[in-house]
C-alpha cells in the first residue's frame, strides 16, 4: 500500500486517512479493525501526506472484512430480532418516526455526530441483507450519498453495500451462526461500546432486516 494519504480525523485509538475519496484507518485496537484498516503500534508519527510502505509492516493482514454468507440462522434468536423497534426509544425514536413517515431513504444522515444514527441503522440493515444473501439494491438510493451524509458514514454505507464490514459486527454474525451461549451477548456488548447511540442504532437496523426477512421465509 503506497500513496498520499491525507490525515482526516485523529482519535485516541484511531486515525482516519483519506485517499481518492476513500477512508483508510490506522488503529491501535484490533477490535476497531474494518475495511481498509491497518493495525499499528503507535499513532504518534501519523501526519498529513503519510506514506505507508507495506514492506515495513509487521502484520500485513489480520482481518478479513468480507461478510460471510449465513448458512442458516438458528431460530432461537427470533425473539431478539423482533425487539429491533424497542431499541429505537429515547433519543433514537426520531428514526422510527422518520422511517414510519418517509421510508428508509430519509434515514440517510439523520441524527447528530460523525456517524448519524440513521446511517448506523442502514449500515446494520445492509450487512444483515448481505449476510442473508438478499437483494438490497432498492432499499436506499446510493446516488450522491456523500452529499447527503458525513464522509465517514457514506464510506461505511458503501462498504456495507459492497459486502465489507467491521470486526465487531463480523463477530456478531459469527456468534449468531454458531448459536453459542454467551457469544452473542458478548458481541452485542462490544457493538454497544461503539459510541453513544451508534451501536444501538446499528443493532436495531440489523435486527430489523433479519426479522423482516425471517417473516417472509
Amino acid at each position: 500500500m503506497r500513496g498520499d494519504f491525507h490525515l482526516k480525523e485523529r482519535y485516541k485509538k484511531t486515525c482516519n486517512l483519506i485517499l481518492d475519496g476513500w477512508r483508510f484507518s490506522l488503529v491501535l485496537d484490533y477490535k476497531d479493525m474494518g475495511p481498509r484498516s491497518l493495525l499499528v503500534d503507535s499513532l504518534d508519527d501519523v501526519a498529513d501526506n503519510l506514506l505507508i510502505d507495506s514492506k515495513n509492516l509487521k502484520v500485513p493482514v489480520i482481518y478479513d472484512p468480507n461478510i460471510p454468507q449465513a448458512s442458516s440462522i438458528p431460530r432461537r434468536w427470533d425473539a431478539l430480532f423482533r425487539e429491533w423497534y424497542m431499541l429505537l426509544d429515547d433519543e433514537l425514536e426520531v428514526l422510527l418516526f422518520t422511517l414510519d413517515n418517509d421510508g428508509y431513504d430519509a434515514l440517510v444522515g439523520l441524527g447528530p455526530g460523525s456517524t448519524p444514527a440513521g446511517d448506523d441503522f442502514l449500515t446494520g440493515m445492509h450487512i444483515a441483507l448481505r449476510w442473508m444473501g438478499h437483494n438490497f439494491e432498492n432499499v436506499i438510493s446510493f446516488r450522491n450519498l456523500e452529499s447527503r451524509t458525513t464522509w465517514f458514514s457514506s464510506c461505511m454505507l458503501y462498504d456495507a453495500a459492497c459486502g465489507l464490514t467491521w470486526y465487531r459486527s463480523k463477530k456478531l454474525l459469527e456468534a449468531l451462526s454458531r448459536g453459542a451461549d454467551g457469544e452473542v451477548e458478548d458481541a452485542l456488548n462490544e457493538l454497544m461500546s461503539t459510541g453513544h447511540t451508534s451501536g444501538r442504532a446499528w443493532i436495531s437496523g440489523f435486527f430489523h432486516a433479519v426479522s423482516v426477512c425471517n417473516s417472509f421465509s
Binding site: L80, R82, E185, N189
Partner: protein, 508 residues
C-alpha cells in the same frame, strides 16, 4: 427561589432520576433538587419538602423536576437536569454500554436455561409480567410491592399447580444455593435453610447466624402477605416442603410476623411430621415453650442464637440466657453514655427491623407511634411528622412509590434526621444501616453527613444509636461502615434488638 418544571409522558427508571438529583445537588448554589414521577405520594413528599406544586395539572406519568437554588443559576439547573436525563454523565462507564434485551422472550433467547425471574418493576405492571414468567416455566421472585392481593393469590395458585415458586410480592431478599437475590448479605454457606415472610428479618437472622459462624444454604422469601389467611401460606409451605426434602439442609428456620392461626397450624404440623429440627422465629408471636426439635422465638437475634445452638448441638436455653445477659449489660452501657431526656425517634429502612424495634420499645417505653404501628391506634396521621415516641418505616409504600427503596438511597432518611433534631423534645435517634448486595454502596456515609450536621447544631442533646446489619464480605464492608458512623459519634449495637433496647435505656 424555586422552580418546578413538568415533562409529560416520559418514563425514566428511579435510579436515573435519583442520580440526576444527586448530580444537581452537588452544584454550588443548589439548595435542593428532586426529580419524581408525579404520583400522589410524590407530590405530597415534594410539597412537604417545601416545593409549591399547587395549580399544576399533574398526572402520574409526568416527570416533575423541582429545584431550589440561587436565582441567577436556577434556569441553568433545570436545563442541566434535562441534559443529564437525555445524556447522563455516568453513562460513559462500561456498565450502561451493555446490550440488554427489551423483552422476556429476547432475554430467554440469550439465556434459555434461565430458571428464575427477579421482577422489580412498578407494581401495576409486575403481576402481569410475573404471570408471563410463570408461563415460561420460571420461578418468580417478585420484589415489587403494590401488587394486589387477588393477583398474588392467582399467581401463587397457578405456580403451585406447576410446581413453581412465587417469592413475593414485596419480597426483598432471597438466597438460593448461596446466591443472594435482591437485598442479601454475603454470608457463608451452611446447613441452615430458611423460609422468610420478612425481608430484613431474613437479612438480620442471616447476618446474626454468620456472626455465630453458621451458614445458610437457601433462604426462600415469601412476601409478608403469604402467611395471611387469604393466601394461606402457599409459598411458605412449598418452601418448607423443599427444605425438608433437601438433604443438605439440616435445620429449618422460619422468620416473619406471626402467621394467621390456620397457616401457623399447617406449618407446624408439616414441620412436626417432617422430622427435621426447626426454629420458628415469629416476631412478636405468642407461642411459648419449645417442643424439640421445634423451637419458638420472638425476636430475630434470639432466632439466630437458638438456631446456632441447634446446629451446634448445644442447649438453646443456654443461648437465650447468654443473650439476656448481654441485654442486661446494656443498662451499664446506657449509664456510661448518660441518660437523655425526651422522645425516641426511630428511622428505619428495614420493615421488619422497624417492627421488631417497636416491639422492644413498646415494652420499655409504652406505645410507639409509627406509619406501620403494632397497634393501629398509634398510626401516624402523617408519615412525615413524628409524634411522641415514634418509629418510621421508610420502606412503606408512601415512601417507595416512584422512588428508590431506602436501602438503596438513605438521603431522604438523612434529611429527616436533621428535621427530627430540630425538635427540642427529641433525645435519642435510632436507625438501621442495612448492607449487602442491592443496597447503597455506602449508606453510612449518607447518614453520617446528616448526623455530623445535627451534632454541630445541637451538640450532645441528642444521642444517635445505630445498628449496621451486614458482614465483612458485603460489598460495603461492615467494619468500614461501622467506622464511618462511629467517627461521627454514633453508638453502635451488635443487633437490631440490642440497638432498640439501648435506645430505650438511654431515655429511661
Amino acid at each position: 427561589m424555586q422552580r418546578v418544571e413538568v415533562v409529560r409522558g416520559v418514563y425514566y427508571d428511579s435510579v436515573s432520576l435519583m442520580r440526576v438529583a444527586q448530580e444537581l445537588t452537588k452544584i454550588d448554589g443548589v439548595i435542593d433538587a428532586t426529580l419524581n414521577m408525579a404520583t400522589e405520594a410524590n407530590i405530597k413528599i415534594m410539597s412537604a419538602a417545601g416545593f409549591d406544586l399547587s395549580g399544576l395539572d399533574l398526572r402520574p406519568s409526568d416527570l416533575v423536576i423541582a429545584v431550589k437554588a440561587n436565582e441567577e443559576i436556577i434556569d441553568g439547573i433545570i436545563a442541566k437536569a434535562k441534559e443529564y436525563l437525555s445524556n447522563p454523565p455516568w453513562k460513559t462507564t462500561e456498565i450502561s454500554q451493555q446490550y440488554f434485551p427489551k423483552s422476556l422472550n429476547g432475554a430467554l433467547s440469550m439465556l434459555p436455561e434461565a430458571n428464575l425471574a427477579l421482577i422489580s418493576i412498578a407494581g401495576q405492571y409486575a403481576g402481569d409480567e410475573a404471570m408471563e414468567c410463570l408461563n415460561k416455566g420460571l420461578h418468580v421472585m417478585l420484589y415489587s410491592d403494590n401488587v394486589s392481593l387477588e393477583k398474588e393469590i392467582e399467581l401463587k395458585k397457578i405456580a403451585k399447580e406447576r410446581g413453581l415458586l412465587v417469592m413475593g410480592p414485596d419480597c426483598g431478599t432471597a438466597v438460593v444455593k448461596g446466591i443472594g437475590l435482591g437485598f442479601a448479605n454475603a454470608c457463608p454457606l451452611g446447613p441452615v435453610g430458611m423460609v422468610a415472610a420478612a425481608g430484613t428479618g431474613l437479612q438480620e437472622v442471616h447476618v446474626q447466624l454468620a456472626h455465630r459462624g453458621i451458614g445458610v444454604l437457601h433462604a426462600i422469601g415469601t412476601g409478608g402477605r403469604d402467611v395471611k389467611e387469604a393466601v394461606g401460606g402457599i409459598t411458605s409451605l412449598m418452601g418448607i416442603e423443599a427444605l425438608l426434602e433437601n438433604d443438605d439442609v439440616k435445620v429449618i428456620v422460619m422468620v416473619g410476623k406471626p402467621p394467621a392461626p390456620e397457616v401457623e397450624k399447617k406449618i407446624f404440623q408439616r414441620l412436626v411430621s417432617g422430622n427435621k429440627p426447626a426454629v420458628l422465629g415469629y416476631i412478636g408471636g405468642e407461642l411459648e415453650g419449645d417442643r424439640p426439635p421445634i423451637y419458638f422465638c420472638k425476636e430475630l437475634e434470639e432466632t439466630a442464637a437458638v438456631t446456632a445452638a441447634v446446629v451446634n448441638g448445644t442447649d438453646p436455653d443456654l443461648a437465650r440466657k447468654d443473650l439476656n445477659l448481654k441485654y442486661e449489660h446494656l443498662k451499664e452501657l446506657a449509664s456510661h453514655f448518660g441518660k437523655r431526656k425526651g422522645y425516641l425517634r426511630g428511622l428505619y429502612s428495614g420493615g421488619t427491623l422497624c417492627y421488631e424495634a417497636q416491639l422492644v420499645a413498646s415494652k420499655l417505653l409504652g406505645p410507639i407511634y409509627s406509619n406501620a404501628p403494632l397497634d393501629e391506634r398509634y398510626k401516624l396521621p402523617d408519615s412525615l411528622k413524628s409524634i411522641g415516641n415514634c418509629m418510621v418505616d421508610y420502606g412503606e409504600d408512601e415512601f417507595t412509590q416512584g422512588r428508590l427503596h431506602p436501602m438503596m438511597d438513605s438521603s431522604f432518611r438523612a434529611k429527616r434526621m436533621i428535621e427530627e433534631a430540630k425538635e427540642n423534645e427529641v433525645g435519642v435517634i435510632l436507625f438501621d444501616c442495612v448492607l449487602g448486595y442491592g443496597c447503597h454502596e455506602s449508606p453510612a456515609e449518607q447518614l453520617a453527613s446528616a448526623i455530623s450536621q445535627v451534632k454541630r447544631e445541637v451538640g450532645d442533646r441528642i444521642i444517635f444509636v445505630g445498628y449496621v446489619c451486614g458482614v465483612e464480605a458485603d460489598p460495603q464492608i461492615a467494619s468500614s461502615q461501622r467506622k464511618i458512623l462511629e467517627d461521627v459519634g454514633v453508638v453502635l449495637a451488635d443487633s437490631n434488638a440490642q440497638a432498640a433496647r439501648l435506645a430505650c435505656l438511654l431515655l429511661q
